[in-house]
Amino acid sequence: MWFFGREQIEIPSRDRVEIRLEAIGGQGANSAGKILAEVAILEKKFTGNHFSSFGSEKRGTPVKSFVRFSTSRKPIRSASFIRTPNLLVVFHEYMIESHPEIFSGVGIETDVLINSAKSPNELLFPKGVHPRWVGSIDGNKIAHGQNCGLNSVMLGAMIPFLPELGKESIEEVGGRYFVKLSEAERQANLSGLKKGYQGVRVKTALPHQDRINLEEQDQVRLGYENAPFGGVIVNPGNTALKSHEASRKGFAPKLDKEVCFNCGMCDQVCPDFCFVWKINPASRFGAELVGLDYQYCKGCQKCIQVCPVQALTLTAENEITELERSTSWLENQK
C-alpha cells in the first residue's frame, strides 16, 4: 500500500502484468523498458519479454515500448503489441493531444502515469478514456534539475504502480544499468530515479477527466475502400496538421518583436519552418515577421543562435504567453 498525495493506491495482486510506454524517440523509453524487463526476468525470475516499436530511427517520432511478465511464471510467448495495458506511461503530456491513439485499450484495470507539471486531477484525457489510477510527475523539471535522463525519473515514478517489481530491485537494476555512464551521470540518474519516486502524485481517475474533444481534423480513416491506390497522397502539405511540441524539452524560443528588425535570418535556419511572415512595404526590408508557430517548433535553438540582435531568447515554456502561441502558419496560408 502506498500513500501519495493523500490518496492511498492499492494495486490488486496480479498474475500477468502488461506495461506500455508511450514516448517520443530520444526520451529513453526503450531503455526504461529494458530495465523493467531486467528486474522482472533476471531479478525476480518471472517469465516475460520486452520489445519496442519504432516509427523510424528518428528522434522526435513516437516510440512504444512493451514489457510483460508473469509472476506465476506461465510461459510468455506473445510477440505482439500490448493492446490492453495494466500500466500506461506517457513520457510527455503533449502526446495526449498530439497522439491521442496512445490511450487505446485503456480500461478500468489500467493505471496511467503521465509526465506533466499538472496534478493528476487537472489532467484531461480524450473522450471515453477512463483509467483506474492517474499519476503525474513533473519529469522534465526533475530531469532538468538533476541533469539526468527523463527515463530515470519516469522509472522512479512507475515504482508505486509495480509492487511486483519493488522499489529496491528497480533502484538496484537501474544503478547497474547506469554503470556505463560517468560517475557524475550515474549519480544524477540515480537521484533522478529517487526524485521520480518521491515526486509522483497519484489519484483515482475522476469522472470528469475525459473532457478533451479532439478537433475533427483530417480524421477520415483510410482503408481499402477509400485510400487512393498505389499509396498516393493527394493532400499536399498536410503535415501542417501535425504537432511536434512533444519534441521540446521544456524550453522554446521567445520572440521580442520590439527588438526584431525583420532580417529573415531565423527563417533561413529553422528546419521546421516555424516562422510566419508577411509582406510589409513599411518594414525595413519589405517583410515583417508575424511570429512563430509553436506547433512545429522542436526547440533546436538554431534561430536563437543566428539572430543578430537577440530578439529570440531561450525561455521556459510556461513563460510564453497564449498570445505568443497563437500565431498559426496554417491560418496565414489562407
Binding site: K34, A37, E38, I41, L42, T47, N49, H50, F51, S53, F54, G55, S56, E57, K58, G60, R77, S78, A79, S80, F81, V220, R221, L222, G223, Y224, E225, N226, P228, G231, I233, N235, P236, G237, N238, T239, A240, L241, K242, H244, G264, D267, Q268, V269, P271, D272, F273, C274, F275, K278, I279, F285, G286, A287, D293, Q295, Y296, C300, Q301, L330
Partner: protein
C-alpha cells in the same frame, strides 16, 4: 552413439539481433560483408563493436550496397572462409541476383534475414514478403522464431551448410522487430570451445586460394549440363533435410533445446491446425493453450526449416486433421493464398489428403500487429469449417480495413499558384556569354511560399530542411522532385501525411537518377507531341543523401553521362542517418560511426572521404 553431455550455458536477457551477434562472437567468422538496412543493421553494428574491442577477428567489409555485399561474401566464401551477412527487405532483393550464384556454386555461408516488408510503399516493419523471394534461390532456410533460436540457428547453420553432403549457403530468418528487437531470457554457450567442437572445422574440396590446385569456379554451362547441375542442387537439399535432423538431435543433447523440422504445439490428435511461420507461431501458442483449456482440439504447426520443406514431417502430422488454416505474412497477388499456403496444400494433395479443408489467410502485412486474440480467431475459423463447409471463405485478408467511408481527408492547403512559385525574387540575365544572377534579401525570401510545409518529422535541428529550403528559394517556377530513400524522404511522407506542396516522387536510393531521367525525357516528348503545352516549364530536381550516392553511384554516373536537363542535389550528412548513423563513403577518414568503431583493433573509418564532386565533374556535366 557416443553420449553427449549438456554444455555449460549462461542465462541473459537478450534480443534477437543481439543473439545473432553473440553467435557470431562464438563462431568468429573470417569475414562479414554487409550493408545497413533496418531492422537488421544492429547485427553488423554489434559485430563491428566486438571487432574494435579485439574480441573477434572477423574482417568487416562495409559494401556500397547489398549487391556489393553479397558479391564480397561470395568471393570470400570461395576462399574457404566462414562468411556472414545480414540484411532485410530491399537489401535481400537488391542482392537477389547473387543468391543463386552462391547456392549454384555450392559455397556455404550464413545470411541472417531479419524480415521486413518489401517496398513500395516503403515500410520498415515485419512481414515475409522478402523471405518469399528467397524460396527459389537454392539456399537452405532456417526459421528462428525467438531470440534464443536466432543464436541456436546460427550455430546450426554453419554446421549444416558445411556438411560434406550439403555444401550450401544457409539463411537464418528472424522476424523484424518482433524477434530482432524482442528481449527474452536466453541461454548462451559459456565456452567458446563447445561452440567450436559443435560446428567443427570448415573443409572445402574446392578453394580459390590454392595455386597448386587451380580450379575454375563459375563456368559457362548450357544444356545438356545445367539440368544435371540443378539435380545435384536438389539432391543437396534432400541430404540437407537428413543432415538437419541429425544435427538438431546432437544440438538438443548439448543445449536441451529441440528444433524438430516441423514443430507441433497443442493436441496430438488435433481436429484443426494453424500452419504459421516464426514469431506469430509463438504468439499463437498462447491461443492454443486457451482453446485446449476449453476442450477444443487444436494445434499450431511451425516449420523450423523452410528449405528444404519438411514435407514428410507434415504428412505424418496431418492424419488426425479435418481442417488446416495456413496463415502468412505475405501474399502472392493474383493467387488464392501466399506461397506457403500453396506449398502446404500441395503436400496434403500428394498425400491424398483432399478431404482436409484447407483455408488460406494473409495477415500482418507491413508489421500489422497479430496477437493471441487474432490467432484464436484464425483457429476458430478452422473449427467452424469442420462444422459447416463454406462457413468461412477459403481465402481472405485478415485484418484489412475498408476505411471509414468513401470520403478522402479534406485538402488543407491549396496547390501553389504560378505567382507563388515565381515571385520574381531571383533573376537571371545572360550578358556577355555569362549568367548574372541577382537575388533579394533574406527577409523578402522568407515571405516566399515554401515548397515544403512545416510539420515534417525530422530530428530537432536537422540541417537537411533549411538546406533544401534555401536551395528551393533560389528556383523560380514549377518544380517536380524525386527523393531517394533516406531521412528527407522518410520524415516528409509518413502516410497519410506529406510535407510536399509540390509533386513528389520516391524511388529506392539505388535508382533515383535513372527514374527522374525517364520522367524528364517523357516531359519533353509530351511537349513535342503537343500533349503538354509548349509553354509549360518544370525544373526536375533529385534529392539524395550521401548514402544514396554510394549505392546509387553507378546509375547516377550513367544519368550524368547521358546529360538530361535535371538537377541532382546531394545533402551530405556524412553517414547513413536514416538507419541510425552508419558510415557512408563520405564519412571522413578516422571518424567513429556505429559501423566504424574506434577501439583496440579499429581506427574508425578506415578509408578516405569520397570526393563526389570530382567524380561527377569527370562525367563532363555542365
Amino acid at each position: 552413439m557416443k553420449t553427449i553431455k549438456e554444455v555449460e550455458q549462461v542465462t541473459q536477457l537478450r534480443t534477437g539481433n543481439e543473439m545473432v551477434a553473440e553467435a557470431a562472437r562464438a563462431i568468429d567468422f573470417h569475414f562479414m560483408g554487409y550493408y545497413p538496412i533496418t531492422p537488421s543493421t544492429e547485427i553488423s553494428e554489434r559485430i563491428d563493436a566486438m571487432k574494435a574491442k579485439g574480441e573477434i577477428r572477423t574482417v568487416m567489409l562495409p559494401a556500397d550496397g547489398e549487391h556489393g555485399a553479397a558479391g564480397a561474401c561470395f568471393g570470400a566464401s570461395t576462399g574457404g572462409a566462414r562468411v556472414l551477412n545480414a540484411t532485410s527487405a530491399n537489401g535481400l532483393l537488391y542482392s537477389l541476383e547473387q543468391l543463386p550464384v552462391q547456392a549454384g556454386s555450392r559455397m556455404p555461408m550464413v545470411l541472417n534475414l531479419v524480415t521486413r516488408s518489401v517496398s513500395g510503399p516503403l515500410d520498415i516493419r515485419c512481414d515475409h514478403s522478402d523471405l518469399m523471394f528467397a524460396l527459389q534461390t537454392g539456399w537452405i532456410i532456417l526459421m528462428a522464431s525467438t531470440p534464443q533460436a536466432a543464436y541456436d540457428m546460427n550455430l546450426i547453420a554453419v554446421r549444416l551448410g558445411e556438411h560434406p553432403k550439403v555444401r550450401l549457403p544457409v539463411m537464418v530468418v528472424t522476424d523484424g522487430f518482433f524477434t530482432s528487437h524482442q528481449r527474452q531470457e536466453v541461454r548462451i554457450f559459456k565456452n567458446k570451445s563447445d561452440v567450436e567442437s559443435f560446428i567443427g572445422v570448415r573443409n572445402d574440396c574446392y578453394t580459390t586460394l590454392d595455386p597448386r590446385k587451380p580450379v575454375t569456379i563459375g563456368p559457362y554451362m548450357n544444356d545438356p549440363d545445367l539440368i544435371n547441375n540443378k539435380y545435384q542442387l536438389h539432391q543437396a537439399h534432400e541430404a540437407a533435410l537428413e543432415a538437419y535432423q541429425e544435427i538438431v538431435i546432437e544440438f538438443e543433447a548439448l543445449s536441451s533445446r529441440a528444433y524438430p523440422a516441423l514443430e507441433t504445439y497443442g493436441a496430438a490428435d488435433a481436429d484443426s491446425a494453424l500452419f504459421i511461420l516464426n514469431s506469430a507461431a509463438e504468439t499463437s501458442k498462447e491461443a492454443v493453450d486457451e482453446l485446449l483449456a476449453s476442450g477444443k482440439k487444436v494445434a499450431v504447426f511451425k516449420p523450423n526449416i523452410l528449405r528444404p520443406f519438411p514435407s514428410e514431417e507434415l504428412k505424418k502430422k496431418t492424419h488426425s486433421l479435418k481442417s488446416i488454416v495456413i496463415a502468412e505474412r505475405s501474399d502472392s497477388p493474383g493467387s488464392i493464398g501466399g506461397p506457403i499456403s500453396h506449398e502446404v496444400k500441395s503436400v496434403l494433395f500428394s498425400d491424398h489428403h483432399c478431404d482436409i479443408a484447407a483455408i488460406s489467410r494473409v495477415f500482418g502485412l507491413g508489421g500489422k500487429d497479430f496477437n493471441e486474440e487474432d490467432a484464436k480467431s484464425l483457429l476458430v475459423d478452422g473449427l467452424k469449417i469442420i462444422q459447416e463447409p463454406g462457413a468461412v471463405p477459403a481465402f481472405g485478408f485478415f485484418g484489412a480495413d475498408q476505411g471509414q467511408s468513401k470520403a478522402l481527408p479534406k485538402t488543407i492547403l491549396p496547390a501553389l499558384t504560378r505567382e507563388e512559385v515565381s515571385p520574381g525574387l531571383v533573376k537571371v540575365n545572360q550578358k556577355d556569354g555569362a549568367l548574372h544572377v541577382s537575388i533579394v534579401d533574406t527577409a523578402l525570401l522568407a515571405t516566399r511560399s515554401k515548397r515544403i510545409a512545416p510539420g515534417h518529422g525530422a530530428c530537432p535541428g536537422c540541417g537537411i530542411f533549411s538546406g533544401l529550403d534555401q536551395f528551393f528559394k533560389g528556383i523560380e517556377g514549377d518544380v517536380v522532385v524525386l527523393y531517394h530513400t533516406g531521412c528527407a524522404m522518410v520524415v516528409t511522407t509518413d502516410y497519410p501525411f506529406s510535407a510536399h506542396r509540390i509533386t513528389y516522387l520516391h524511388n529506392l536510393f539505388q535508382n533515383g537518377a535513372p527514374t527522374l531521367s525517364g520522367l524528364v525525357e517523357v516531359f519533353h516528348e509530351k511537349k513535342r507531341r503537343g500533349e503538354i503545352s509548349t509553354s509549360e516549364e518544370i525544373t526536375f530536381v533529385m534529392i539524395t543523401g550521401d548514402g544514396g550516392m554510394d549505392i546509387g553511384m553507378g546509375p547516377t554516373i550513367g544519368t550524368a553521362l547521358r546529360n538530361h536537363p535535371m538537377i541532382i542535389l546531394e545533402y551530405d550528412n556524412q553517414g547513413y542517418m536514416n538507419t541510425g548513423g552508419q558510415l557512408s563513403y563520405s564519412t571522413p577518414f578516422g571518424n567513429e560511426t556505429s559501423t566504424s568503431h574506434v577501439g583496440k583493433q579499429s581506427v574508425g573509418k578506415s578509408f578516405h572521404h569520397k570526393d563526389t564532386a570530382s567524380i561527377m565533374a569527370a562525367t563532363g556535366i555542365p
